[in-house]
Structure formats: structure tokens, C-alpha cells
């Protein structure tokens, strides 16, 4: 009796995790280059940016919302950060300011949704365009590049032979998991997404928390922008196009319901890793980029389809 609810609760994540393991086994059989420690670290590093954005997306989707602006926020906060760096600010300060800018943009999204009562889809569709335009305006459309090595070590550095982006990703996931499961903020996120009216009538400050949730989304986009800028040694106003779709895909593959109220951080991490492993594996196999798109799309559909088909029927 105690095992069953546990299994039901975590079945979805185990399913996805099992999928990831199976995928890895398949690639291990298919190519000798896959299962090497350097390649696995390489995958973690490559998945980090999408995975970080997906952390924020998970919070937002669990709360019953959606954020289409994250890709543009990556570009915007990236060029703002580059501006600070080129103005000669010490890089930790510049990074902090970049993160604050991201947080601010996210809070604007949140305010549009809560005070403006706009549907999240519309609000963030708007800010997606505004942030992109602002990034292009700010830079005159040109990428800005060439940063000092201290800043770049955020992407190029290693901790115990693990690439820094992978370390940052893991730390953020542990934190994200903690916040989602062990804090008031996390509990309210589920409550708002599960039943906003009930949450409100239970005294949850729905507007405040929703705004903060979108703020967190912006903050994590900014963190992704920091890594991207350090990794490319360049901040582009056209960076991050379609990143919102990748982040939504990782979240959904990880079992978070687009209807809100349900989802886990671990699931999202596995979802992001599945996408990273797929892309890496298909590259290693020399599969054409067109086939790659088909495969990734199919995996998204499969993951959700399996979820729908096997969901226990309601009484």
C-alpha cells in the first residue's frame, strides 16, 4: 500500500529516465564514440543552456502559464551583459547586473499576466518581440564579442574535470528541486497551477507569486544567457531564437502537464538530457540535420502520447 502511491507518483519520471537510459544503451551499441567520459561531459555542457531555461519554464508551466519570451530574453540579457562587460565593469558585477535585468524582464512578464490580466501566451508573445527588438536596437544589430578570460571561465572552466556549465546546471537543478518541493514558493506554484481559485481562497497571494514565478523564468533565462555569451565569447542580438520551444519540449518530455499543477524538476532535467543526447548521438552517427528534426519531433510526440495513453482512466 505504501509502495503503490509512490510508484504512481513517480512512474512518469521513471518512465522518462528509463527512456534516457535506453537511448544511451542504443547509442552505445550504435557508435563507439558515444559512451566516453569526455562525450558524456560534452553532452552535459551542451544541454546546460536549454536545461537552465527549462528550470524556469517548469515553474511557469506548473503554475499554469507559459513563457514564449525566454529565447528573446536570452538575447536581450546577453547583449546587456556584454554592454556592461565592454564598459569595463568587473565581470562578477556585470553578470549580477545581467541576472537582475533578466529578473526584471521576467517580472514585467508577470505583471502583464497578473495586473494586466493578459493570457500568458499573449503577454509573453508580446515581450518576446519587444525583447528581441530591444536587443537589436541596443546593439544596432551587431554581435559584440571578446570578453576577459575570467568571465569566459564560466563556460570554459572546469570543476573536478567537470565542465563549469554542467556544474552550474546541476547546482541549479538541485536548488530548483529544493525550491519546488521544500518551500512555500514551490507549494504555491503547484497550488496556483492546480486550482488558482482555490489557491486564492486559501489565502495564497496569487498575483505576487505568479509575478515571482515569471521573474524566476527571466532570471534563469539570464543565467542561460551568461553561459551562452561566455561559451561563444560573443553576445548576439539574434541569439536564442526558438529556445522557448526547446525549453517547453524538455519540460513536457519530462512529464510536466501543460495544464498546470503537475511536474517535477528531475523530469525536466531528464527531458533536457534526452534532447541533448539525441542531438549528440545523431551527430555522432552522421545523420542528416533534416532527419534529426524529424526524430526530435517524434520523441516529443511519443513522450506525451505515451503519457496520455497510459494515464489511469478517471473513474
Amino acid at each position: 500500500m505504501t509502495l503503490k502511491p509512490f510508484l504512481i507518483r513517480y512512474a512518469r519520471q521513471f518512465g522518462t529516465l528509463f527512456g534516457l537510459v535506453l537511448l544511451c544503451i542504443a547509442l552505445w551499441i550504435a557508435t563507439p564514440y558515444f559512451l566516453t567520459s569526455s562525450n558524456l561531459l560534452n553532452i552535459m555542457e551542451q544541454s546546460a543552456i536549454n536545461a537552465l531555461i527549462a528550470v524556469g519554464m517548469t515553474f511557469i508551466i506548473i503554475s499554469g502559464g507559459i513563457d514564449l519570451s525566454v529565447g528573446s530574453l536570452v538575447a536581450f540579457t546577453g547583449v546587456v551583459l556584454a554592454g556592461f562587460l565592454h564598459d569595463g565593469w568587473p565581470w562578477p558585477l556585470a553578470v549580477a547586473c545581467g541576472l537582475v535585468a533578466g529578473l526584471g524582464c521576467g517580472i514585467v512578464n508577470g505583471l502583464l499576466v497578473t495586473l494586466g490580466r493578459l493570457p500568458p501566451f499573449i503577454a509573453t508573445l508580446g515581450t518576446m518581440s519587444v525583447a528581441r527588438g530591444a536587443a537589436l536596437l541596443y546593439t544596432d544589430g551587431r554581435p559584440s564579442s571578446g570578453f576577459d578570460s575570467g568571465f569566459r571561465s564560466l563556460a570554459t572552466g572546469q570543476v573536478l574535470h567537470i565542465p563549469a556549465p554542467a556544474v552550474i546546471m546541476l547546482v541549479v537543478y538541485v536548488l530548483g528541486h529544493f525550491v519546488l518541493t521544500r518551500t512555500k514558493f514551490g507549494r504555491y506554484t503547484y497550488a496556483i497551477g492546480g486550482n488558482e481559485e482555490a489557491a486564492l481562497l486559501s489565502g495564497v497571494r496569487v498575483r505576487l507569486y505568479k509575478t515571482l514565478i515569471y521573474g524566476a523564468g527571466g532570471l534563469l533565462s539570464a543565467l542561460a544567457a551568461v553561459l551562452l555569451t561566455a561559451r561563444l565569447n560573443s553576445a548576439q542580438p539574434i541569439a536564442g531564437i526558438n529556445y522557448e520551444l526547446d525549453a517547453i519540449a524538455a519540460t513536457v518530455i519530462g512529464g510536466t502537464s501543460l495544464l498546470g499543477g503537475q511536474g517535477t524538476m528531475g523530469g525536466t532535467l531528464v527531458g533536457a538530457l534526452i534532447m541533448g543526447v539525441l542531438r549528440n548521438g545523431l551527430n555522432l552517427l552522421g545523420v542528416s540535420s533534416f532527419v534529426q528534426q524529424v526524430v526530435i519531433g517524434a520523441v516529443i510526440i511519443l513522450a506525451v502520447l505515451v503519457d496520455v495513453l497510459f494515464k489511469p482512466k478517471k473513474k
Partner: protein, 311 residues
């Protein structure tokens, strides 16, 4: 219950195994080197031609070729991932057409560290950034886009007979290739005092944006006599917009890249000229020189590919 993903993933695994069997290397000779060609995208005819040239040359030389590209031409991060993955795969040489001249630098450094020679095609890697990062490339193979822009500008100046308004469709801002073409074109136009560029707007290398931006320009500047687009795709979009405005034949359209479709448009008279680069040649030269480099032969640091105006 948590075994429910099993059937799906088992299928996927089988599919991957099947992919592997059809991968090029298994049909080619083992022991011969594998050269990777990473282009910007494979939905642009320019890079498809480049791929064709590279494939022909690999067949001739008996080496293996892997071609990879991001879905979108401007996705620098994805291109970086692809190159990283190819380094993990221990390819013997990398030929890259960079999506971003500066953004490609970190991954060149990674390839250097792995001891894999890098040949850059078509778009130059930013020399300052490369020097700052301590990266090396074996060779650059490409045309001088600046020259191409100048040829196009001179042609427009000549055909307009010394006076008139000119519009320009730019590529993505900050792109070495587009910027060089633009610089060349502007310089040639500046030499003709009666001719002015009245509008210069980015259409991001895309055909539909070429259409829209051109339509807007025609609204704002009905007196435009000539239009230069930094790529044929944008030029072809503009040709449609001009036709929609019933002004076909009244505006001189010059493109870049000499795509077959553009050549056909020139025959029909809807376009005036295009600048021919030879992507196929670039592909061939890239593979040939990569093989030479692998054999330890010396190769020149810059290998020019001719550029010419097609009227």
C-alpha cells in the same frame, strides 16, 4: 507501469541502429581518413552545391565525408555543438563554413587542442578574435565578398548612367559575409556621385523577408531605380514584390550567389545580374586541401575562389 516507454524506445533504438548502418562511413573504406564538412544550413542551395562539390572530391580521393548543419543558418550555438560532437567523434579534419565569424572561434580552439586541422570556408573567422584566443586555422577557402560587392556596385552605377536612387537588402547584421558585400557595394556606389542609396534594410537572408522589406521600400521610395540584395534568395523575394507592384522591368535587381533560379530570372529579364561564387569549387578545394594537410603537405593559408558577375 514505468515500463511503458519501453516499446517506443526499443523502436527508437532499432531506428538508430538502422541509421548507423546507412551512415556513410560504413560504406566507405575503413582506414581512410574522415573529413567533416559543417556548413551553415542545408536548406540553402549555396551550401547544397558546396556539399556536392565536397562529395565529388571525396569520392575521387577515396576518403570519407560527413556533412552536418544546424537547422537554421544563424544558429551559432547549435553549430558549435555540432563541431564539438564531431571532435568527440575523432574526425580527421574539419571544414567549417562559420555561422558567426567570432562565435566560431572557441570551437576552433577546441579542435586545435584535439589536434584536428580546421579549414574555414566562405565566411572568414574573425582574425582578431582568433588571435586573441590563440586559435589556428589551416586555411581559408572562399571568395572575396568585398570584391563581389564592388563588382555589383560598379554594374549598378554603370547601368543607371550616373544618377538614380538605389535600395539595398542586407543580410543579418553583423555577419562577415553580408557586411563585406555591403562594404564593397557601398564603396562602388560612393564613387558615382549622382547615385544614392535611399534605403538599406536587413531582410535576414530570407526570401519572404526580402519580399516584405522590398514591398515596404517601394512604398516609401517609389523612385527607386535599382535594388541590390546581398543574396539571391532575398533578391528573388524582391523580384516578386516588384512584380506585385506591377513594376517588373523598371527596377534593376542585382543579387548575389548566382543560384540557378537567379540565373533563370536573369534570362527572363526580371533580374539584371547576380554575382557568381562557386560553392561547388569551394567544397572541392576544402576537401582537397584537407587531405593534403593530413598528408603533411603544405597548403596556402588563403585559397581564393574566383568571383564574377553574371548578366
Amino acid at each position: 507501469m514505468f515500463l511503458r516507454l519501453f516499446p517506443c524506445l526499443a523502436l527508437l533504438a532499432l531506428g538508430l541502429a538502422a541509421c548507423n548502418r546507412h551512415a556513410p562511413e560504413s560504406t566507405a573504406k575503413s582506414g581512410s581518413p574522415t573529413i567533416a564538412l559543417v556548413v551553415k544550413t542545408l536548406n540553402n542551395p549555396f551550401f547544397i552545391d558546396m556539399q556536392a562539390g565536397a562529395e565529388a572530391e571525396t569520392k575521387r580521393l577515396g576518403v570519407n565525408l560527413l556533412v552536418q548543419a544546424a537547422e537554421r543558418e544563424i544558429d551559432v550555438e547549435r553549430q558549435m555543438q555540432i563541431v564539438e560532437n564531431l571532435i568527440e567523434r575523432h574526425v580527421d579534419a574539419l571544414c567549417i563554413a562559420p555561422s558567426g565569424s567570432r562565435e566560431i572561434v572557441p570551437v576552433i580552439v577546441k579542435a586545435n587542442r584535439a589536434g584536428i586541422p580546421v579549414l574555414i570556408i566562405d565566411t572568414r573567422a574573425d582574425e582578431k578574435a582568433l588571435a586573441a584566443a590563440g586559435g589556428r586555422i589551416a586555411a581559408f577557402i572562399g571568395s572575396d565578398n568585398y570584391d563581389g560587392g564592388r563588382i555589383a556596385g560598379a554594374f549598378v552605377a554603370e547601368r543607371l548612367g550616373g544618377s538614380g536612387a538605389v535600395a539595398v537588402l542586407e543580410g543579418i547584421p553583423g555577419h562577415e559575409t553580408g557586411d563585406a558585400r555591403l562594404r564593397g557595394f557601398r564603396e562602388a556606389i560612393a564613387a558615382a556621385p549622382g547615385i544614392h542609396i535611399v534605403a538599406s534594410q536587413p531582410a535576414n537572408w530570407e526570401r519572404d523577408q526580402g519580399f516584405n522589406v522590398c514591398q515596404n521600400i517601394l512604398q516609401a521610395h517609389p523612385d527607386v531605380k535599382a535594388l541590390f540584395a546581398c543574396s539571391d534568395l532575398m533578391a528573388l523575394g524582391a523580384v516578386e514584390a516588384i512584380a506585385a507592384a506591377h513594376r517588373t522591368g523598371q527596377i534593376l535587381v542585382v543579387g548575389f550567389d548566382a543560384l540557378p533560379e537567379a540565373r533563370a530570372a536573369i534570362k527572363q529579364g526580371t533580374m539584371a545580374a547576380t554575382v557568381a561564387q562557386f560553392p561547388q569549387k569551394m567544397g572541392e578545394l576544402a576537401v582537397a586541401n584537407a587531405v593534403k594537410a593530413l598528408k603533411g603537405e603544405a597548403i596556402p593559408a588563403s585559397i581564393p575562389v574566383p568571383i564574377q558577375l553574371v548578366k
